[in-house]
C-alpha cells in the first residue's frame, strides 16, 4: 500500500501552494509550470514560475483549460537539460505528455509531474465570456465540486469532454494530489512513481491514510461519467453511422486545421495536409469537378479528419481541446474521443497509462489478430 | 561359442527396425519375435536365445531376408541357430533336432524319406517308450489319407546321397 500524506492549509489553494512550495524548496526544482492567474483578467495561463513566491497566484483548480499543457512541456523538455522542472498537469495533460515522450517529443528525465483530482473545465468560449463579464468562477469552483462529490448542477456546464471523462484522477504522476472526500481545505498526497516516492518522503508531511470513503466515491464518479459518455457516444454513433453522416457532421469544416494545432498528440511539425502531398495542380481541380459534376471546396475535409483519427486516435487522451479550437463549433471532441476509444480498445492500449506500453503501430507479434485476415 | 560370434558378425549391421518381424508369417507363434532375437544375438544373450523356440518355428520363407533394409541373411541366421542347437544337442530342442536328424538320415539312406523308418529312427533316438503313443492319432489320420507309404519303393537312389551329405558336412565344418 502506497504511503499517503495529508496537508492542511487554510483552504484548498493554500494547501496545494504549501505542497508546491515545499516541492520547490526541497527538490532543487528550478522552475515549475502551473496555471497562474494574471492580473487583468480572470484567465489562467500555464506559467513557468521560477520564483516560489509567485506561486501565490497559482490556481490549478479553476474551470479554465485554455490549452493542453503537454504541448508546452514538450517545448520545455524536448532537448536535454540539467535543470529540474516541475509541472502541474491535469490527468489528461499528463496522459498526453506520456504519449509525447513515447515519440521523443518530450522527456521526463528531469521533470517532476504533479497531478490532481480534476473537476473538469468549462468550454473555453464560455469561460472567457464569463471572465469578461467578471463571472468566472475561479475560487470556489473546486470547493463546490468537491462538496457534491463531482455531482452538482455545474456538471452540465462542463465541456463535454470533461463531463464524460472517465479518467479524471491522477495515477502515474510523480506526485498525485487527492481532493475528494478530504476535510474541507485539506488535500492528500501520494506518490505515483518511484521518483515521486523519493520526493514525498523528503517533504516531511504528516502520513495519514486517504479518507476511507474515497475509493467508493471515485468509483461512483467514474461510473457516472462513463454513463454520461455512453449516451454521448450512442448519439454520435447514430449521427455518424455512415460516411454521409460523418460528412454532414463535419460539414462546416473549413480546413483551418486549428483542431490539429490544439491537439496535444498531433505532433507533426507540419500537417501532411499542408504539404505538397495535397498541393494539387490547378488542372486537377478542374478535372475532378468535371468528373464529379461538383467539387466541394475546400477539398479533403473528411479525408483530413479521418487521417487525423488514424494518426492520433490511438493516442487521443480525450482532453477536448479540438472542440475548443474549432471556429465553426464542430463537436470534434466527442467524435475523436469515441473513435480513439474504439481504436485503443482494439489494441488493448490505454494512451498515457505507462511508458512501458509501446505505441500499437510501432510493434507487432506474429500470432496476433488473426481475425483481421478472416471476415 | 565361436559359432555365435560368427552369427553376431553376420548380424552386426542390424538397425532393429523390425521389418523382419512384421514380415514373418509365423511371428505370432514365436515367443521371441525376430527383432528381439537378433538384438539378443548382438547383446550376447545366448541363454535367452536358446531358451526360445523362435528359430525352430522359422519356415524359411525368406520374406525377412527379402525385406531387410540392411540386406542381412536373416533366414540363414535362423538356420544357423537351428544348426547350433542341433550340434550342441540341447535338451530343449531334442524333439525337433532329432526329428530333423532322423528325417535326414532316412533321406540319406534312400534318397527320399521312408516314413516308417523315419519315425522308427526318431522314436529310437528319443529313448522314450511312450513317445510313439503320442503319434498314434496323427499317424492314423495320415494313413487314412495315404500319406504314409509302407511298401518299400524301388531303390534307385540308395546310397547315392552319401557323397552329397559328406560334402555338406565338410562345408559346414568350414563355416
Amino acid at each position: 500500500m502506497e504511503e499517503t500524506y495529508e496537508i492542511r492549509g487554510t483552504d484548498l489553494l493554500d494547501s496545494v501552494k504549501k505542497l508546491l512550495t515545499s516541492v520547490f524548496e526541497t527538490s532543487s526544482v528550478s522552475s515549475m509550470l502551473v496555471p497562474v492567474r494574471h492580473t487583468t483578467t480572470h484567465v489562467l495561463m500555464p506559467t513557468l514560475v521560477s520564483d516560489p513566491g509567485e506561486l501565490q497566484r497559482a490556481d490549478p483548480f479553476a474551470p479554465c483549460f485554455p490549452l493542453n499543457s503537454a504541448k508546452l512541456v514538450s517545448k520545455l523538455t524536448k532537448k536535454h537539460s540539467n535543470e529540474t522542472m516541475a509541472a502541474v498537469l491535469r490527468p489528461c495533460e499528463l496522459r498526453a505528455l506520456v504519449e509525447l515522450v513515447k515519440i521523443k517529443q518530450a522527456t521526463m528525465d528531469n521533470l517532476i509531474t504533479i497531478s490532481f483530482d480534476c473537476a473538469g473545465a468549462w468550454p473555453n468560449r464560455e469561460y472567457n465570456q464569463a471572465a469578461t463579464e467578471g463571472k468566472a468562477k475561479n475560487r470556489g469552483f473546486m470547493e463546490q465540486r468537491l462538496e457534491s462529490k463531482f455531482d452538482d448542477e455545474t456538471e452540465d456546464r462542463l465541456a463535454t469532454s470533461c463531463r464524460i471523462c472517465a479518467a479524471p484522477f491522477p495515477e502515474n504522476a510523480d506526485i498525485c494530489i487527492t481532493l475528494l472526500d478530504h476535510d474541507p481545505g485539506s488535500i492528500g498526497v501520494f506518490a505515483g512513481t518511484d521518483r515521486g516516492r523519493e520526493i514525498i518522503t523528503g517533504l516531511a508531511f504528516e502520513p495519514k491514510p486517504l479518507p476511507g470513503t474515497r475509493a467508493d466515491t471515485v468509483r461512483a464518479v467514474i461510473q457516472r461519467k462513463k454513463e454520461a459518455g455512453k449516451k454521448v457516444f450512442e448519439d454520435l454513433a447514430r449521427e455518424t453511422a455512415t460516411m454521409e453522416g460523418l460528412g454532414n457532421y463535419l460539414a462546416s469544416c473549413v480546413n483551418c486545421y486549428n483542431c490539429r494545432v490544439a491537439c496535444p498528440v498531433c505532433f507533426c511539425r507540419e500537417c501532411v495536409f499542408n504539404t505538397d502531398v495535397f498541393d494539387y495542380e490547378p488542372f486537377q481541380y478542374a478535372s475532378w469537378a468535371k468528373d464529379k459534376g461538383t467539387l466541394r471546396m475546400p477539398m479533403d475535409t473528411v479525408f483530413f479528419h479521418l487521417t487525423r483519427m488514424i494518426h492520433m486516435g490511438l493516442s487521443c487522451v480525450g482532453c477536448g481541446q479540438c472542440s475548443n479550437a474549432c471556429p465553426n463549433d464542430i463537436r470534434l471532441a466527442e467524435l475523436f474521443t469515441a473513435v480513439g476509444k474504439g481504436a485503443q480498445e482494439g489494441f488493448g492500449y490505454v494512451p498515457g497509462k505507462s511508458m512501458d506500453d509501446p505505441f500499437p503501430l510501432s510493434v507487432f507479434f506474429e500470432d496476433e489478430f488473426q481475425d483481421v485476415t478472416g471476415i | 561359442m565361436d559359432e555365435m560370434i560368427k552369427l553376431k558378425e553376420m548380424l552386426n549391421p542390424c538397425i532393429q527396425c523390425g521389418t523382419c518381424t512384421a514380415s514373418c508369417p509365423n511371428e505370432v507363434d514365436m515367443d521371441l519375435v525376430p527383432r528381439k532375437l537378433w538384438r539378443m544375438v548382438l547383446m550376447d544373450r545366448n541363454e535367452a536365445i536358446f531358451d526360445s523356440q523362435t528359430f525352430t518355428l522359422c519356415s524359411s520363407c525368406y520374406l525377412c531376408t527379402l525385406r531387410c533394409p540392411r540386406g542381412l541373411p536373416l533366414t540363414a541366421a535362423m538356420a544357423k541357430l537351428k544348426a547350433i542347437a542341433a550340434k550342441s544337442d540341447l535338451a530343449k530342442y531334442r524333439k525337433s533336432t532329432r526329428f530333423y536328424k532322423s528325417f535326414m538320415e532316412s533321406v540319406r539312406r534312400h534318397g527320399r524319406v521312408r516314413e516308417g523308418e523315419f519315425m522308427a529312427l526318431y522314436f529310437l533316438s528319443m529313448k522314450n517308450p511312450l513317445l510313439p503313443l503320442s503319434f498314434v492319432s496323427l499317424g492314423m489320420q495320415m494313413m487314412r489319407k495315404n500319406k504314409v507309404a509302407f511298401e518299400l519303393p524301388a531303390k534307385p537312389g540308395t546310397g547315392n546321397l552319401d557323397r552329397l551329405f559328406k560334402k555338406v558336412a565338410e562345408i559346414e565344418e568350414g563355416l
Partner: protein, 140 residues
C-alpha cells in the same frame, strides 16, 4: 442494384500477390474486371490514408494483399500491415465501412487460383452489400 458493378481497389505486394494475380492471368483464371490492382512493394508500405482515399474517391471495397506470414520479402511488413488494417477496421467500421469492405489477405506467389477466388467472392459479396458511399460528393 442488380446492375451495380462495385469498384475494388487492391493494394497488392510486388512479391507475392502481384505474382499470384499475374499467374491468375496467365493460367486463365479469369477474375472479374471490377478490381484495380495497385502494385506496392510491400503491404507494409500501404499508408492507411491510401485506404481512406480509396473509399472517399468512390471505391466500394479495398483489398490489401501480401505475402503469407513469414514470407514477406522485407521480413515482416505484412505483420505491420495487419495492425494498420485492424486500426482501419476499428475506425472506418464506425462510419459504415464494414470490414467486409476492407480486407487483408495473404496470397502466395503460386496462389493464382486463390487470388481469383478471393476477387470473385469479394465482388459477389460487395454486389450484395451495395455501394459503399452513396452520395458523398457534396460533403467531402
Amino acid at each position: 442494384m442488380d446492375n451495380f458493378e462495385p469498384t475494388i481497389i487492391a493494394f497488392v505486394c510486388n512479391w507475392c500477390t502481384y505474382t499470384a494475380a499475374d499467374l491468375a492471368g496467365t493460367s486463365r483464371q479469369k477474375y472479374p474486371p471490377n478490381v484495380r490492382l495497385i502494385r506496392v512493394m510491400c503491404t507494409g508500405m500501404v499508408d492507411p490514408k491510401y485506404v481512406v482515399k480509396a473509399f472517399l474517391s468512390g471505391a466500394d471495397a479495398v483489398l490489401v494483399s501480401g505475402c503469407h506470414p513469414g514470407d514477406c520479402h522485407y521480413i515482416n511488413g505484412n505483420y505491420k500491415a495487419r495492425r494498420r488494417v485492424r486500426l482501419l477496421h476499428g475506425i472506418l467500421g464506425r462510419f459504415g465501412i464494414d470490414r467486409e469492405r476492407l480486407r487483408l489477405t495473404w496470397i502466395g506467389a503460386s496462389d493464382g487460383i486463390e487470388f481469383a477466388k478471393v476477387i470473385h467472392a469479394m465482388v459477389a459479396e460487395i454486389k450484395a452489400l451495395g455501394p459503399a458511399v452513396s452520395d458523398m460528393k457534396l460533403v467531402i
